[in-house]
């Protein structure tokens, strides 16, 4: 028996639809598009920051899904497989945001200096309830901060904190070790925190 036969089959809310499409009901493919079009568009927008690029990402991803859905083996949730296709499409096209030069983020940049004078209380924004804090201006600031992250960090924080994938799922989507996902996520979050701190302290 081969290794692929031993893998557990994962079923989810998309299984029935995918089985039907692969069994010849190509007319049901638009249902799949409808389920994920908006999610993928927003993923594209977060990664590229541009409406046209986000639209292209959805189109190119679904072109690949159309071509390769017959090879889907139900070894992962369909959504995770879809994001793997989308991420790979995104990376291949090297759609770098004009705001985002590629560079490493070092943890050292965020470590407070030993001699630093430290406040005794967290700043107001860190103690406020989210519903009081959130507004359109802050949402724009946060999106711009995310777009200014180098791509490899942006991918991780978008998948983990905005799209809601777990560490293990993100590792699978990006073909990384979970430990690498954690390292990149921590650095990306510290970067975003510094950007927000700058905004609130203005």
């Amino acid at each position: 028996m081969t290794a692929s036969h031993n893998r557990k089959r994962i079923t989810d809310q998309d299984t029935e639809l995918i089985e039907a499409i692969n069994a010849g009901r190509g007319d049901r493919f638009p249902e799949l598009l409808k389920r994920y079009e908006e999610k993928l568009y927003n993923f594209g927008l977060r990664m590229c920051g541009d409406v046209r690029d986000a639209e292209d990402l959805v189109q190119d991803t679904f072109l690949n899904v159309f071509k390769y859905l017959k090879d889907f083996r139900f070894e992962t949730k369909f959504k995770n497989w879809l994001y793997r296709v989308a991420t790979s499409t995104c990376i291949k096209k090297r759609r770098k945001s004009k705001f985002a030069p590629e560079h490493e983020i070092s943890l050292d940049d965020f470590i407070p200096a030993e001699s630093e004078q430290v406040a005794q209380e967290a700043p107001g924004w860190a103690r406020m309830p989210l519903e009081q804090l959130l507004n359109e201006e802050l949402a724009v600031q946060l999106k711009e901060a995310i777009l200014s992250l180098p791509e490899k960090y942006r991918l991780v924080v978008v998948l983990r904190d905005l799209e809601g994938f777990s560490t293990a799922e993100t590792a699978h989507i990006l073909n990384l070790q979970p430990s690498n996902v954690k390292v990149r996520l921590h650095r990306a979050r510290l970067f975003l925190r510094d950007q927000l701190k700058g905004y609130f302290e203005q």
Partner: protein, 97 residues
């Protein structure tokens, strides 16, 4: 961290684990150690609170609707793919003998 009696090295060790702590991914022992440290160290506590609020804000980012007309464009795109897929292959001209 301006406190001279405070072990900066321990702060750095805890600092590296803050995201895992926020995500509930630390084992019980590490979690207890970090919580004990946070109770004693205002600098790390502030660091944790600002980082946690950053994560909370990211999780609250709302989805935008797709632009008007985009769904229709995509539906047409998929329809065209299907037509191409279902179209009979062009017949090869017979080889001349």
């Amino acid at each position: 961290m301006s406190d001279k009696d405070h072990d900066h090295g321990h702060c750095l060790e805890m600092f590296r684990k803050l995201s895992e702590y926020i995500d509930g991914e630390l084992d019980q022992l590490c979690c207890e150690e970090l919580e004990k440290h946070l109770a004693d160290c205002p600098a790390c506590k502030i660091c944790m609170m600002t980082l946690k609020q950053t994560v909370n804000l990211c999780r609250e980012v709302k989805d935008n609707p797709v632009p008007e007309g985009f769904s229709h464009k995509m539906a047409v795109f998929i329809e065209e793919l299907q037509v191409k897929k279902d179209a009979p292959l062009p017949t090869k001209p017979a080889k001349k003998l």
